[in-house]
């Protein structure tokens, strides 16, 4: 038990067993042509028998092979742990990565260590590409990966610049949401934003205002303040005459519908709520959340494909994946008459 175990089997052992040179083994395992089918079979048999596989690190050192993707998330344990989006992302990343034989290296960091970790991982060649999530306004990572020369793709934010992005086609999402709400009689709608620095915020603001203007309804913005004693009460108190809200974060939407009754607001009778993201959480709260289902798994797959091509040196342009769908559940309902026009 205390023994670090049996000597590890190397390519030389396989070669010996198959009665060939190490080069031959290497050739077979790299799909090179200079080996007859007969000996190739013998070599494969030998490798199987010894349970041998080319050493990941060695291949990396000698050029070819053994890639891995770095995912560095700058969030506290708390906000990471309670965002189902990340679970979907991880789950979605894992399969396409396995398909192309890449590893996934994951870490959580504090914001101030973030750059440091990118530099370190890249410098050590611990990873061969980065996936950037939670992209902020003027995100320093964009310049950083550029400077490092590291292949990178960002997820979920159509930021101008040289870094390729995978974005969800959601041009009409706000229009759809606003239409759904106006159809229910709502005339004043607020958008609730979570983390104000995130890069997608401004674009969404614009789309939201546009959609509201098109439909001739009032649009407002309300920031979620997690520092408040009772964040839900705090937010609801700042809503003015809005009878419906569209919430950037599913988690926050869930907290709102769960907690609203306790501060005297009935959902959906008095307030309709739409969540911008969807997961099983939306179905577990009551009322169930009307939400936009984003194609996270598809995005993940697209991002992996994109990075794989980048690493191979191809030139790659941004990718778009199919849009968000509005799943109407129980948290949206006809606007209350008594609130309309009040305030």
């Amino acid at each position: 038990m205390s023994e670090p175990s049996t000597k590890r089997v190397t390519i030389a052992a396989v070669a010996r067993l198959a009665g060939v040179s190490p080069s031959a083994v290497s050739h077979v395992f790299n799909g090179r042509p200079n080996v007859s089918e007969a000996t190739a079979a013998r070599i494969r048999a030998a490798a199987d028998e010894l349970h041998w596989r080319p050493n990941f690190a060695s291949r990396k050192v000698s050029g070819q092979g053994g890639r891995s993707l770095g995912l560095v998330i700058a969030r506290s344990r708390g906000t990471f742990g309670r965002d189902p989006f990340f679970m979907r992302l991880l789950a979605g990343l894992t399969e396409p990565l396995a398909d192309i034989g890449w590893s996934l290296s994951l870490t959580l960091v504090r914001a101030e260590e973030e750059e440091q970790v990118y530099r370190q991982w890249w410098g050590e060649q611990r990873v061969d590409a980065f996936l950037l999530v939670d992209v902020r306004d003027d995100d320093p990572r964009l310049a950083l990966v550029e400077q490092l020369g590291a292949p990178a793709a960002l997820l979920g934010a159509p930021v101008p610049g040289p870094v390729a992005a995978v974005t969800v086609r959601d041009g009409t999402a706000f229009a759809e949401a606003v239409e759904h709400l106006t159809g229910l009689g709502h005339r004043s709608i607020a958008r609730v934003t979570d983390a104000p620095g995130l890069a997608h915020t401004r674009a969404r603001d614009k789309r939201f205002r546009g959609a509201a203007r098109d439909r001739g309804v009032k649009a407002a913005l309300a920031a979620w303040n997690p520092a408040a004693a009772d964040p839900v009460a705090d937010l609801l108190g700042r809503l003015g005459d809005a009878t419906a809200i569209i919430v950037d974060s599913e988690t926050i939407a869930a907290e709102i519908v769960a907690h609203a009754p306790e501060v005297g607001v009935r959902v959906p009778e008095q307030l309709s709520v739409i969540a911008w993201e969807d997961s099983w959480v939306s179905s577990i709260v009551r009322p169930r959340l009307t939400a936009f289902d984003a194609p996270v798994e598809e995005s993940a797959r697209a991002a992996v494909a994109l990075l794989e091509r980048l690493v191979r040196g191809e030139d790659v342009t941004a990718q778009t994946v199919s849009g968000r769908r509005l799943l109407v559940r129980e948290s949206t309902a006809p606007a209350p008459h008594n609130r309309e026009g009040s305030s």
Copy 2:
């Protein structure tokens, strides 16, 4: 942009800039004594200037350094994605790993590929140790890591055998739960189990029965059947005269309290519910779940420490971390009189 970027800087470049041999640089970066403080400083300065860091893969090839932990999860995207436990685990793993410079390699697999992935990762030396979660009865992975000679630790299941384990000290947890419930007047309690094959199930069954016997209350077992048309209704229909349940999975507990009213059972008035795990989900459903808070982050830290020692060749014994605490919230209440003794 299409250029794979600037030539990568190697140890030789640093050596040249500092006017020393590559060996000297290596010595400095591995804390070896044979270099004077003056030249060491010069070398470090040169390395900084070139942003050089020892190549992760190369260090791995030449023995020393560059370790990584493999976490292979045999779950479908769905059941992985909706179990907050994994988020806590990942979040908890990340920090201690960073502290010792290890990478975390994560993947999800289908059960039938599981062994294959362990073999592959180990064979390729892609990882240097495994963390085993979701340990099942007669789990083949125990023998497998033994056969491979791979350092491994399992989490959350006190399985006899040579593989070291990190377990949560919860000897008294069931006693605590049962005491809480009997204090509320419950005389018949059921334990709801999720995945029947998991290794901890039997041990928990035993503890549960023991705790119930000690308090003189009736103990029953009920298996959750996700295949049923309405799993919650199905489960509640099979509860007999039990007025309280202890649910292995927090997710299932959440589904139960959310859905029970819709099938005519009021929680906690008619049925008290305790969840065996805790996360933010317990606070977002109504009624909020009375739950056991497990020290997931501490377990993760202990597991990392244990694996690190194993990899260094030390002999390591099982570790226990501080116990579960019962967090009493809203899903437990006095037993209903009308159900008592019925059935």
